[in-house]
């Protein structure tokens, strides 16, 4: 289980996260929502090692993640995507995903130099795994094209494929639906559900409320660097503090 306890991040005098605690149930889809500047991405960055928190602790299955490098955190099965589209632009879709498979390969420096049958077999296995992941996100027809040449929506799918290739146990998605059309969002939602069916835990930052309420088991609401509510989508939609945070104080009566 991924657990965040009293996580605090301060940039100089600005407090981005004051004291955030939550747990992500294994096998669940948990969404983090909140107005702009609530600290959602900051929390993601602190959990995945891109930002050193000022205080607090992040643990996975009891072992602390805080202070580890992002690559070491990925090695423990916690893999993230980025809010802005983030692919390896010059590489083909296939090479993007092959790169994502980095941790699934084992060949070290000397094994690579020596070559041989085992290396060839591993490369072949990685290729077929890459193909499977590409087919999973539905980009089979784009395999050989450069990621930068793809339309925006498909680049986001490449990004998802790269993250999935890293064999996460917990997948952190930072606004996977941002800038997408309605039908593209539906595709992403479907993929997220299928990922969960395979036993992965998904933690999601998302602004699209229809998407959040449609796929989440639990919703966590951040505002001003604190958790103001946590619960099922239905409970969150009715939560007075959430309504106040999003719509302002006097709108609580609706």
């Amino acid at each position: 289980m991924l657990a965040v306890r009293d996580l605090a991040v301060r940039f100089g005098g600005v407090t981005a996260l004051e004291s955030v605690s939550f747990e992500v149930r294994p096998g669940s889809i948990t969404s983090v929502i909140g107005p702009n500047g609530a600290g959602k991405t900051t929390a993601f960055n602190a959990i995945t090692g891109y930002l050193r928190p000022t205080g607090g602790l992040v643990t996975y299955d009891g072992a602390p993640l805080t202070g580890l490098r992002p690559s070491a955190i990925a090695r423990r099965g916690i893999v993230r995507t980025f809010q802005k589209t983030s692919v390896f632009p010059a590489l083909s879709v296939e090479d993007n995903v092959l790169t994502g498979l980095h941790l699934r390969g084992t060949a070290g420096f000397f094994a690579v130099l020596a070559g041989g049958r085992r290396l060839t077999a591993e490369e072949r296995a990685l290729s077929s795994q890459a193909r499977a992941v590409i087919d999973f996100v539905g980009l089979g027809h784009r395999r050989r094209e450069a990621a930068s040449a793809l339309p925006y929506g498909e680049q986001r799918l490449v990004e998802l494929a790269v993250a999935l290739a890293a064999k996460p146990r917990v997948l952190l998605l930072d606004e996977p639906g941002a800038g997408m059309t309605g039908s593209e969002k539906a595709v992403v939602s479907g993929l997220i559900r299928r990922v969960r069916e395979q036993g992965l835990t998904v933690l999601l930052v998302e602004h699209d409320m229809r998407m959040v309420m449609g796929i989440s088991d639990t919703v966590i609401v951040l505002n001003g660097g604190r958790v103001i509510a946590e619960g099922s989508p239905a409970a969150i939609q009715a939560h007075p503090e959430v309504i106040r945070a999003y719509l302002g104080a006097s709108a609580g009566s609706t």
Binding site: T48, Y50, R69, P70, S71, A72, A74, R75, V79, R80, T81, F82, S86, V87, F88, P89, A90, L91, S92, D95, L98, T99, G100, L101, H102, L103, G105, A107, F109, V112, L113, G115, L119, E123, L126, E145, A146, S148, A149, E159, V162, A163, A165, A166
Partner: protein
Amino acid sequence: MTRAGGWLLAAGALTLPLWLQSPYHLHVAIMAGIFGVLAMSLNLLLGYTGQLSLGHAAFFGIGAYTSALLTLKLDWSFWPALAVAVALAALAGFFIGRLALKLRGAYFVLVTISFAGVISLVSINWIELTNGPLGLPGVPAPALGPWSFRTKTAYYYLVLAACGLSYLVCRRLVMSRIGRALVALRENEPLAESVGVDVTHYLVLAAVVSAAMAGLGGSLYAHYTRFVSPEVFLFTYTVTMVIMVVAGGKGTLAGPVVGATLFTVLPEALRAAASWQWQMLAYGVLLVLLVFFLPRGIVPWLARVMAGSQAPAEPDSPTIRR
């Protein structure tokens, strides 16, 4: 298509001494080979990880001096001296890698320049060891059992073997998960980290292999010219390597070899054709034209021309690994 071309080139390189009888021409070929090793070494860092080392002459010089000193002062034979030269250059690469790659980008460039500067000063001022600016004459020619590499033809094959070995090392690395990790760091470092690519590990690895190959080039150079002086640390050597890599096509396997051949042969050809001032002018103009019209280098351009004649509508993707 490209494979056939590769075999043709290899066959040409192997039979070169048969149809290039003049020792001068062989000399040019040997220098092209040595620079080929150096350019491949630099390309590993610049082309694949995207880090520019402007102190690469330092690793070259460390290799040259180590090999020369061990054979001259301790009477070692060439082969163990070569091995130690490569190892020492690799060690220097390791420390520079650890030190500088924490900084990256412009800072890495600065650290490598300063490193080359410091090493150069040591070679000039540690007169008891290096003989200072006078240099070390009389570096012995290598020998393998009863065979000596004293002749140009023999040395050509030695250099060719080193070139082939360096190419193979680069090729194996680049086509593996290690190569993918290096390119990933060049393309998008945060994303690479997010899927578990250990930045420090792979950048240091690239620096070590690159430095080791430069050390190999240095040792070969020392035993070929039979003389080592602080000039091996000249910035010109580094700049030449950079030109070769960029003109040939950085981030491609064949690019540095093509660049090294072109930019070793070209100045020599110009020397025969024109006076010194015109040489440099022509060299400069050609360089500007190359950068202007083939910004990605000769090899990617060739690859695209060939792909274009066979299958149209190739997307705008540079050849990274094949």
